[in-house]
Structure formats: C-alpha cells, structure tokens
C-alpha cells in the first residue's frame, strides 16, 4: 500500500467531474469534507486524490446551488465539523451528470480504441 505522501502528482479534475464525484460520495450517506476525500481515495484505490483547495469551495458552491444540505455535527475526533448530505436536487443533478459522463467516456473510449490507419 502506497503512502499518501507518495501518491502520484495530482490528476487535474475537470470542474464538473469533481462535482459529480462529490455528489456520488454523498449519495452513500451524509459525511463531512474529510470523509468525502477519504471515500474517493478509497474507492479509486488511491488513484484519485481530491485537493482540499478544490473540495471545500466545491462543497460550498453546491450548497449555494441547493444540491447539498449542511448541518454542524461532531467528527470522529470530537471536533465540530460540517456534515453534508444530498438534497433531492442534488440527486437529480447526480443522475444527470452520470448520464452525460457515460456518453462522454464512451465516446472517448471509442476514439482511443479506433484504428490509427
């Protein structure tokens, strides 16, 4: 198992892609920002690393758009932490983005698989 600090240079995520991943993470259940980051790392086997500098502004933006609800709670280490959960609007957004993504990645996959000649 690779050490966190030894992860490859960060993969730049497209804005919309990050939003989609966060929504997907929250679809599992309410969690705080750290939990979202950890969940993403875990399910991608440490391949995707979400930078805090993008994560929190993205969460705030999503709160502004009404995709997520926020409540204050207590973290595992007994700190005051904000927990995020998906709203109905957020769930719908996730569905939409997933659909677009699959069309997009299909297309990219077909391009890459095509015969060079």
């Amino acid at each position: 198992m690779r050490h966190i600090s030894e992860l490859p240079e960060r993969v730049d995520l497209l804005q919309g892609t990050l939003d989609m991943l966060i929504l997907k993470a929250l679809n599992v259940g309410p969690m705080h920002g750290y939990g979202v980051a950890r969940w993403l790392e875990r399910v991608t086997d440490q391949t995707l690393r979400v930078e805090e500098g993008s994560l929190y502004p993205a969460l705030t933006r999503m709160a502004e758009r009404g995709w997520v609800d926020r409540v204050w709670g207590v973290s595992e280490n007994n700190r005051r932490a904000r927990f995020y959960s998906l709203t109905e609007l957020g769930k719908r957004q996730l569905g939409r983005e997933t659909a677009i993504w699959s069309v997009f990645s299909d297309a990219v996959a077909r391009v890459l698989a095509s015969d060079p000649g």
């Binding site: 050490h3 966190i4 600090s5 705080h32 920002g33 750290y34 950890r38 930078e51 805090e52 500098g53 993008s54 929190y56 502004p57 705030t60 933006r61 709160a63 502004e64 973290s75 595992e76 280490n77 700190r79 005051r80 932490a81 904000r82």
Partner: protein, 887 residues
C-alpha cells in the same frame, strides 16, 4: 449571521479536516511534527480557497435572508387575509366604503382625463390653434369668426402659422336615391384638412382646385360613419353623383374613420369657395384652425395677429372703420384648439366635480380609518400578546400594512367596476353640446390611477393601528380592565367623525345650491309654452323658393294642411326657435333720434308667419300680423316688451313705426310679453318680428327657405302619428323639401346649455352629496355604537348607582350631537368659502343662500339624531347587573 461567524465556521471546518488528516498520518506511523508538516503541505494555499468559500457563503446568506423576508411577508399577508376573512362584517363594510370612495374618484378622474387632460385626436394636436374675433363689448364670452379679407391677410402675413384653414359648417340637404334629407355638412378650404392632418379612407380629400366654382364640377367627401350608415359602407359609391342643395356633386372620397371637426361631427365635407377679388366686408362668419410652426409659441402668433388686425382700417377702408374697432374692442385671438373645444365653463365644472368626488373619498377614508381604529382597539390584547411573544414593531407594522393593502386593493377593484357602471349611467344623460364626453370609460390610465390611489391609501391606513402602540404593553398588564376607556382614545375618532360631517355639509351645500338654481330656472317663464308642441326644420332649396312670395305661399299651404290634422291646434313658421341662434338687424324706431356716431345695435329679428306666436304659445298684446301682411301688402310687425321699452320707454308701442334695414317703416301691431330667447337665465330679449315677405323699399333680407315650423297640439303630441303625417303632406307638396331636427319644444328647452349644464352638474353633485351623507351617517352610527359598547360597564354602574334611563340616553346623545354640531359648524364655514366656485352655475340664488345652508345643517342634524337613536336605546336597556358582571 455576521461575517465573523462565517469566518469562524470556515476555520472550524478547516481545523477539523487538518486534525483528522494529521491523526491519520500519525496512525500510519508518521511522527507528529512530520505529520503536521505533511498535512499542512497537502492543504495547499489555504487563504485562497478560504476566500473563495467566504464569498460563496456570503452569497448563500444573502439569498437566505431574501427568502426569509419574502416568506415573512407572505406569512404576515396570509395571517392578515385570514383575520379579514374571520371578520366578514368589518371587511365588507370597509371594502364597500373604499369602493364607493375610490369608484367615485376614479369616475371623476376618467372624465377629467378624457375631456381635459388628453390631447385632441389629431397629429401634434398641441400645435393646433383656433382663430376668432372676440367682441368683449357684446359680452365676456362673445366671439365672432374671421372675415374673408382678414383670413387671407393672415394667411399671407402670419409667419408663425404653418397652416391656416377656414371652414363653415352648415346643415345642407342631400338628395340621393333614397330621397332628400338634411345632413351635417361643412365647407372647408383644403388647407384646413392639411392643418388637421386628415387622410382619406378611400378616394381623395378636398383639394385646392376643388374650390373653383367655374370648374362646373362639384365634389364632396363623405364622413366615415355617415358612409357606413347611409351607404352601407359600399366603396362603390366613389364616383357617383348626389345632389347637395340641389346641385349635382360627385363623391370623390371617404374620410378617414373617426375624423371629425374639433367641435362637431360631420356627415359631408365640401369645398369652400372664397373669392378674394370681392370687395372686403365686415362679415365674420368664417371659422379657422391653424397649425403653429415648430417651436412657435401662441404668444408669438398672437403678437403677429394683433399687429395685422390693428391695420385693418387702412387695409380694408370700406369695411373696417376706426370707430368700429374701438366700439367693439375688435381684435383677433389665437387660442389652443383644445381650449376652444373644451371651453372655460366645462373645464371649471369638471374640476368642481373632481373636487366633489375627492371629498367623497376623504369621507370614505375617514370611515375606514375609524373602522380600523375600532378594530385595533378590540385587538389590543392580541397585539400585546404577539409583541410580548417577540413580534417586533416592524412585524406588527407589516401585518397592519398587509391588512390595509388588501382592503384598499379590493376596494379599488370593486371601485373600478362601480366607476364603469356610473360612467355608463351618466353618459346616457350627458346633455348635447358637452364635447368629448361620449367616449369616456374606465380605461388603462384610470385603472393605473385607481391602483396608485389604493396603494397610497393602503400605506396610510397601515399606519393607523401603530398610532399609540406604545400603550400596547400596558394593555397586557392592565388586562384591559377598567370601566371607562380613556378619553384620549375617543378623541381621535371624534375628530374623524366631525371632519366627515363637515365635508358632507360642504358637498350637500353645493348640491343644494344647484338644486335651488335648477328650481329657479324651472320657474322662469321663458315667454313661450314648451309643453304640447313639436318643432322641425325644413330646407327649401329649389330656385323657385328664392322668391319670398313663393316661399311664403308654400309655408301658408303647409300650415293649413297640418292644421287640418287631428289634435293640431296651430302651426307657424319662423327663422329660429327661441334659445337657438337667430339673426340680427340694425332695428330702429320711428321717433328714435339716430345717434350719429353709432350704428343702431344689432337687434334680434325674425321673419315669421302669423301662426308663429300661437304655435309657440307666446301671448300677444294687440294683434298678430295678418296673411295680407305676409304677402308684402301691409307692413305689420311685432316687438317684444323689452324692445318696446327701449325704443319707446313708457309709451304705447302699438301703431309706431319700426324698420330693419331698408327705408320703409313697418307699423307695430302687437307686443309680446317678456320673451327669453338667448338663454332662460338671460335678460328678456329685445327682438322684432317681421312678415315673411318684405314690403316695398323694406329690408333687403331675402326669402325664408330654411324655416323652423312649430306645431302646437291639443295635448301631449303623439310623435309616432304626427311626424309621419307631416312627412306625407310634405311629400305631396314638394318631395325635394326634407324635414329635419324633429323635437318637442320641451326637449329643445331642456337641451339648451343653461338648463342642461345645470341639471348635469346638479345630478353629479347630488350623487356626490348623497354618498357623502350616507357615509357620514354610517360613520356617526359606527362610532356612537362603538362608544356605547365600550361604555356598557360605566353606564351600567351609573344605572346601578341610581341614574335614570333618561340621563343615560342624554349622555349618549350629548356625545353624538357634539360631533355633529361642530361638524356642521365647520362645514358651513367651509361651504361659505367654497360655494363661490359654483357662482357661474348658480341662478337666482346666492352662494350664501341661507335657506339652502340651514336646510343642509338641519338635515344632517336630524340624520345624526336618527343614527344615534339605535345605540342610545341600547344604552337605555342596559341591565346594570349583567353589565357589571361582564367586566
């Protein structure tokens, strides 16, 4: 939530994240200080993303606050709506009262807007001017038209006028396939149509070349409505020929829809031929409308007109003498076309109406304010509880505002409906000759007006419950206990009622004065009998009738044949009905020493048949001229008493000589009583009546070819049988002679401006006064019964302590009489000041008429007593035991 709170939250979130990260790194075996360093490195440029978050947070806050505010307002509005529905009585009375006030004001505003405020329906109408010649020597409003010579001089020389067009309206006979009838025609110079920017709907309009009489080809343009009505809107009529006054004329165009003369409707437009080469005359029959050049003011044009008019004696030496200019104070005036059309009289009347309905609105508002005060009073505890539970002043104000806005908006909506209904009703009784009134309805502008009014009132009423709100907490503590309500609380209500009564007195005084004027006017003896008589106009255009004897023969035969009809008593013909425009001539008496400097004043004269006086019901002392006189054989004339008094004061006029123009003298054979032909509010008319056919060397006036015929019947004329019978006689005698303007004399009298204007204004002010009266009585009743209700405990205590029923009733009465008395007093003082504005409409009654004013005062006092009666009786029946227990 403040900016600091936002920052603290972000910091907390950041801190939690950082610590979780460190803990995890340490759990994997990293030493504490290294873990801290690694975690901090991972967090990156914390300040940048914190700033980004802060901005988003602030936006979230803002949206949330806005949403809260809307929700807050909606909640209060909902609350207000529920509380209005819970008290349907209060709500209904308040909305109805407001609807009456706003409706009356909106109706008044609609009329003012349409008639006075809006421009006339022409392109750039504010640049149109009306030219005429005021002759103040003949009366403050007297004005002639222009002379032909003057008209051309102005056309040549007035540089500030872009266009100037003359015209002359006249009733003419039109003969087509359908027979002959009279139509409203106007002869116009092509320039007039240019000045008014007229356009044809089909074909063409009158053009410059059309007014050449030598062309031998007459043309005419049909008015749009006339074309629809009489020609079925058939475009094929273009090019066909009809006869106008017997002359064949070709229809060359149809006027644009809705285009009329500024002051009248037109059926047929014809060219007006003006011959410049004729010697100038001092005859002012030409109407004229001009268009100011761009950027030119009326004053500049007036200066030019004055300069040119002052040169008339040298320009037209045969027609204008310096003496004439001086004697008549002759000048030429330019006024805006709108001023001419509306006239100062109508403008003033409409402002009076608007003033009256505004007073009604004020009274209605006073009632609603009182209702709201009472309601606030009864809700003191509710409000106190709410404010104790943390509702701020702002929230309570919002609630009050929402409530009052709902009332006023509902009132305005209902008011607009009332206004529309009222306008329809009023328009059906608008007298003829009130311009621009026919088209009035509640339109967009009026609705905007009503909406703004309702918002304004809503905001004002919204503050009513707030007055004295500092006492609210105390109300809670007091437990609203106490036998008497504070005196100060009633004072405001009483002031409101008092001012209401005062306003009602002012309005009723105005309406009363007009009513008295109308009565007085009705009692004026016009000198003729308007009942049981029918009048109509003939147009005898065949060249045959240019011989006075031929015209007289025709009228004589017509009279004999109509007189043979059942129920007809007498028939006569003359030039004009009393109270209609009549001609005038320089009439002189035989023994009168001619005044060398002056021409004799132009005295009203008519050529009449012998039956004219009997048909009009005019009493004659002496005789009426015989039919021999009608044939020109004997010169016999009749004068009015007023003329006889001037020509031969104190002497018997019978047998004296009189002449119009011409050198031969007529003998006066009869004298009428006082005859008022220039308005029944005017002085008795000086007039002379001559036979149809002039005697030798007599006056130069010609044949009477457009006579008015009066038929007196035994009883109320049955128009349905009489008119067709007369038509049949005319058809048999001469089918080219059309009959027009059939009306009863009574109708004719009622339609004359002095009567019609006053009856219209009287109705309007009467309606306003009635509403004012009703509203203020409701106001008095409401307040008195509320006060009695509030004082139940006190009155019960008094009764328990031995006061008798009469003393209790007296207490209640004293209250309401105090309000009514001071209201009536103040109102009478106000009426004394304000009824002066009605002066020009009053007749035979002074604006300070004591009878009217005291009647109004007594009426209000009586109604106040009636309104107090119910609550006073309730007070007298109070059961002391119950009243005290209820506390």
């Amino acid at each position: 939530m403040s900016k600091e709170d936002v920052d603290a939250d972000i910091d907390d979130e950041f801190q939690a994240h950082l610590e979780l990260l460190i803990e995890e790194l340490m759990a994997r075996g990293m030493p504490g200080d290294q873990a801290l360093e690694a975690a901090e490195r991972r967090m990156g440029n914390v300040n940048r993303w914190k700033a980004e978050m802060r901005e988003a947070e602030m936006r979230i806050r803002q949206v949330k606050r806005r949403r809260e505010r809307v929700g807050y307002f909606l909640r209060e509005a909902d609350h207000a709506a529920r509380s209005l529905v819970r008290r349907p009585g209060f709500t209904a009375v308040a909305v109805l009262t407001l609807a009456l006030g706003i409706g009356a004001t909106t109706a008044g505003f609609s009329v003012l807007d349409r008639v006075v405020l809006r421009p006339l329906p022409y392109t750039d109408a504010d640049r149109l001017v009306w030219l005429d010649s005021p002759v103040p020597a003949q009366g403050p409003d007297a004005a002639w038209g222009l002379s032909v010579a003057g008209y051309f001089q102005f056309k040549d020389e007035v540089g500030t006028l872009e266009e100037l067009g003359g015209f002359a309206p006249a009733t003419v006979s039109l003969t087509g396939d359908l027979g002959a009838y009279q139509v409203r025609g106007v002869s116009v110079q092509a320039d007039l149509l240019d000045a008014l920017s007229a356009r044809p709907a089909f074909g063409r309009l009158i053009e410059d070349e059309d007014d050449d009489p030598d062309a031998g080809h007459r043309v005419l343009v049909l008015g749009y409505d006339f074309w629809l009505r009489e020609f079925g809107g058939e475009p094929g009529v273009l090019g066909s020929v009809v006869r106008i006054e017997g002359e064949p004329s070709e229809i060359v165009g149809i006027m644009e829809r809705g285009f009329e003369l500024p002051d009248r409707e037109v059926d047929v437009w014809m060219p007006l031929y003006l011959d410049r080469t004729q010697p100038p005359t001092n005859a002012h029959w030409l109407s004229a409308v001009g268009r100011l050049g761009p950027g030119v003011t009326l004053t500049e044009t007036q200066v030019e007109l004055d300069r040119i008019t002052s040169r008339f004696p040298e320009l037209f030496p045969g027609a204008y003498f310096p003496g004439f200019m001086e004697e008549y104070e002759f000048r030429t005036r330019a006024r805006s076309l709108k001023d001419h059309v509306i006239g100062p009289e109508l403008r003033r009347s409409l402002w009076i109406v608007v003033g009256a309905v505004s007073l009604v609105l004020l009274i209605a508002c006073a009632n609603v304010a009182n209702l709201l005060l009472v309601r606030t009073e009864s809700r003191r505890r509710e409000l106190a509880v709410r404010s104790a539970l943390g509702a701020g002043r702002a929230q309570l104000a919002l609630f009050a505002m929402a409530e009052s806005l709902m009332l006023t908006i509902a009132g305005a909506a209902l008011g607009c409906l009332l206004a529309e209904g009222a306008l329809r009703g009023l328009l059906s009784m608008v007298p003829a000759g009130l311009p621009r009134l026919v088209e009035v309805s509640v339109g967009g502008t009026s609705m905007v007006f009503a909406a703004l009014l309702s918002l304004l009132l809503g905001l004002v009423f919204g503050t009513v419950p707030l007055s004295g709100s500092s006492a609210r907490y105390r109300a809670l503590r007091e437990g609203a206990r106490g036998l008497t309500a504070g005196r100060t609380k009633h004072r405001l209500r009483k002031v409101v009622v008092t001012s209401q009564v005062a306003l009602a007195v002012v309005l009723l005084a105005g309406a009363g004065l007009l009513l008295r004027s109308f009565q007085q006017l009705r009692e004026v003896d016009p000198g003729f009998e308007p009942r049981n008589a029918v009048a109509f106009q003939l147009s005898m255009r065949r060249p045959h009738y240019r011989d006075p004897a031929a015209a007289a023969d025709f009228l004589r035969e017509l009279a004999q044949r109509i007189e043979a009809l059942p129920e007809v008593r007498s028939v006569g013909s003359g030039e004009a009905l009393p109270l209609a425009e009549a001609g005038c001539a320089p009439v002189m008496g035989e023994e009168q020493a001619p005044d060398p400097g002056r021409s004799p004043p132009c005295t009203e004269k008519q050529q009449v048949s012998p039956g004219f006086f009997a048909a009009l019901g005019v009493e004659i002392e002496g005789q009426t001229p015989s039919w021999q006189a009608q044939d020109g054989g004997v010169g016999e004339a009749v004068v009015t008493a007023a003329l006889a008094d001037r020509l031969w004061p104190g002497a018997d006029p019978i047998g004296r000589g009189i002449r119009g123009s011409g050198s031969a003298w007529y003998r006066v054979v009869g004298v009428t009583g006082d005859l008022r032909t220039q308005g029944i509010d005017a002085a008795p008319t000086e007039a002379a009546f001559f036979p149809l056919v002039p005697i030798e060397d007599g006056p130069l006036w010609g044949s009477l070819t457009t006579p008015v015929v009066v038929v007196r019947t035994v009883s109320e004329p049955r128009m349905g049988a009489l008119v067709p019978a007369i038509r049949r006689i005319l058809l048999e005698m001469d089918p080219t002679v059309p009959l027009g303007n059939v009306e009863t004399l009574e109708r004719h009298l009622a339609d004359t401006p002095p009567v019609a204007r006053r009856s219209f204004m009287m109705t309007l002010l009467g309606l306003a006064g009635g509403m004012a009266l009703m509203l203020s009585i409701v106001g008095i009743y409401g307040v008195v019964s509320y006060v009695v209700g509030q004082r139940t405990g006190e009155l019960g205590l008094r009764l328990a302590l031995g006061a008798n029923v009469a003393q209790v009733a007296e207490l209640v009465l004293k209250d309401s009489l105090g309000m009514a008395g001071s209201g009536i007093g103040i109102g009478l003082i106000g009426a004394l000041a304000l009824t002066r504005t009605l002066e020009s409409l009053l007749f035979g009654v002074s604006p300070l008429d004591p009878l009217t004013l005291s009647t109004v005062g007594a009426l209000l006092l009586a109604l106040t007593l009636a309104a107090t009666w119910v609550p006073a009786r309730r007070a007298m029946r109070i059961d002391p035991a119950e009243a005290l227990q209820a506390e």
